[in-house]
Amino acid sequence: MAQAAIPQIVARRGGWRAALRRYAHVPLLTPAVGLTVAVFWVCMAVLVVMSVYPFLAAGTPRLTLAAWQRLLGDPYYWGVVGTTLRLAFVVTALALALGYPAAYAISKIQRPGWALAAYVVLFAPILVSVVVRTYGWLLLLSNTGVVNYLLRAAGLVREPIPLIFNETGIIIAMVHILLPFMVFPILSVVGQVGGDLKEAAMDLGANRWVTFRRVTLPLTAPGVISGCQIVFTLTISAFVTPFLMGGGRVQILSGLIYRDMEAVNLGFASVVALVLLALAVVILAASNVLARRAYRRAEVERA
């Protein structure tokens, strides 16, 4: 065993030197890494510490898992986790359903003026403050709002449809704000799928739909995945818009953080923040793995 280990050590040393050379560019990363470490990891460390040491002005804090138990041991909070995830998935799916065609259409626009107009329409909600935006939505969507007025005037409904102060309102608003975050990554890849690839597919017997499904869609998958990841992440961590549009009635994780921050119950708020982070990381990692595996499976199936 000892003899067998020798070459391994040698190999490892070689590897170590090679690694040194390989990572010679690391200093270039220092500012970015430094910032990330300072802002992100220090905060993470703070959250972890706060989640197990109660926040006391006086006395020595003792390690306790009470805040973790309070969250993880309570079906109510699992329900909140479920609502949070459900909202994020629905918003992501709708943003994709609306954003992909939009990105595709924008990429087809020839005249620069029209393209600019499309960008403005799409990105306008980001440029407006959340207060103005919310005011607009409430005017449109409340029981006495424009949408319900039109629905009733058209005789489609008799009673107003509740479009705000519930999950529907949150979904409408979040899709509206986050649509550009879906469109932009897709737009950047849709434009790169060369016309010659589509022509090649058509030349080989594919009509427009088959060309889209077999060529354009798989080649834009990276944009779709990153768009979905951005929208998903922004949705599960959003607080202000869900609170305003949900009327404080829809319980989501970010609302719990705010609730307990206000009550100076920082331990529990930290636990929720960490759970939220863990959910985001797990979902993002899973989406990466799934995307890769689906891609590979498609290959195997066809081969």
Binding site: V42, C43, A45, V46, V48, V49, M50, Y53, F55, L56, A57, A58, P61, L63, Y76, Y135, L138, S142, N143, T144, I164, F165, N166, F243, L244, G246, G247, G248, R249, Q251, L256, R259, D260, M261, E262, A263, V264, N265, L266, F268
Partner: protein, 370 residues
């Protein structure tokens, strides 16, 4: 191997390091440098905290300027913000640099004044340095003089006259069927969301809050939506999404003055007294404490309390204050109203803050829409 830290040690060290990190993160960059050590020769620099919004900070700025003019060598910086944002930073600063508080003294709302009692954040005031404290009604003096109540924000009911023909008359109207789906409040504000008053009117109290939760669990759908701030409550009422809410009289009258369709009524049970305090933060030097007490004495003077009342419509606690003529006709300024105002057990509320928030979510909010 020898350098490997044992688990227990690691946890201990980690705990210390973590607390340091924690305090650092809490302090934040924006507020650094606000509370600096005194310069040489008796010069002092103090930070005075005051609530932002409406006309609330005006008196603080005026008093600070006035004090500095009469006391060269003293600098008073005014920090505007919300209690819930600044308070955790104050606590962290106290742990990290016990002799250098982030905020030396200032305005504190009811919730955080009582939270500070729990966290042992407030100095006992020496009333000999605050002669104007003699005029403050005893109800607004605090145990061991850990701060002093300088004003009351009376809470009554507001409604939108465009939608409500028959004004509400009682706190019980909050849960009356005629306002089903038309009530709003800041989400966990116990003095406006009806929890405590419902408990009190149904055989309970702050110490026996269950009747309040039981009532609101049944009537969860009284609420159309919750808000995060007074302004959001105002907007809900103005738009007509909500028709009534509990609100500070001062805010209500300011908005009405600005033309909002809002009326303020005092329920027949009386207003809820929401006392506002001035506190000195533990960790100040003896000299700093004397300066803070001097400034507090100015704030409690008839001149500045009258100014405060005129600017904010909040009722001074001093018996000596001559209310400006414009306020004299207002019912909530009458001594009778102030005398019969409902006094909450704020200490109990502060102790239950976290538990009640959780119960409110689980027992009331979760039942909405069903």
């Amino acid at each position: 191997m020898g350098r490997r830290i044992r688990r227990r040690e690691f946890l201990k060290e980690g705990g210390k390091a973590g607390l340091g990190l924690f305090a650092l993160a809490q302090l934040g960059g924006a507020t650094l440098g606000l509370a600096q050590e005194a310069a040489a020769g008796g010069a002092e620099r103090l930070t005075l905290f005051v609530w932002s919004g409406l006309n609330l900070p005006t008196v603080a700025h005026e008093v600070a300027r006035f004090y500095m003019q009469n006391n060269p060598g003293v600098t008073i910086e005014v920090l505007e913000g919300q209690n819930f944002e600044v308070y955790p930073k104050m606590v962290s600063a106290r742990k990290l640099t016990p002799d250098r508080p982030l905020v030396h003294f200032g305005y504190s709302n009811t919730q955080f004044t009582y939270q500070g009692d729990i966290d042992d954040m407030w100095e006992s005031l020496d009333l000999r340095n605050i002669p104007n404290a003699a005029n403050v009604a005893d109800a607004y003096k605090r145990p061991e003089n850990r701060g002093i109540g300088f004003s009351i924000a009376p809470v009554g009911l507001i409604y939108n006259p465009n939608f409500v023909r028959e004004p509400p008359t009682s706190w019980a109207d909050m849960w009356h069927p005629r306002f089903r789906g038309k009530v709003t409040s800041i989400k966990y504000a116990w003095y406006t969301n009806g929890l405590v008053i419902a408990a009190r009117l149904n055989g309970g109290s702050e110490r026996n809050i269950d009747p309040g939760f039981r009532l609101w669990a049944e009537r969860a759908n009284q609420f159309v939506a919750f808000a995060n701030s007074n302004v959001e409550v105002r907007d809900l009422i103005v738009r007509g999404d909500a028709h009534i809410a509990a609100m500070f009289g001062g805010n209500a009258l300011t908005w009405k003055e600005q033309g909002a369709p809002i009326e303020f009524v005092i329920p027949r049970e009386g207003t809820i007294a929401f006392p506002l305090f001035l506190v000195v933060v533990k960790g100040v030097s003896a000299q700093q404490k004397r300066i803070a007490e001097g400034v507090i004495n100015l704030i409690l003077s008839e001149r500045w309390l009258a100014r405060w009342a005129a600017l904010t419509y909040f009722v001074p606690t001093s018996t000596k204050v001559v209310v400006p003529p414009s306020l004299r006709g207002l019912a909530m300024y009458s001594p009778q109203e102030t005398a019969r105002a409902i006094q909450f057990d704020w200490a109990t509320i502060a102790r239950n803050e976290t538990a009640w928030r959780e119960r409110w979510d689980k027992e009331v909010v979760a039942r909405m829409g069903r």
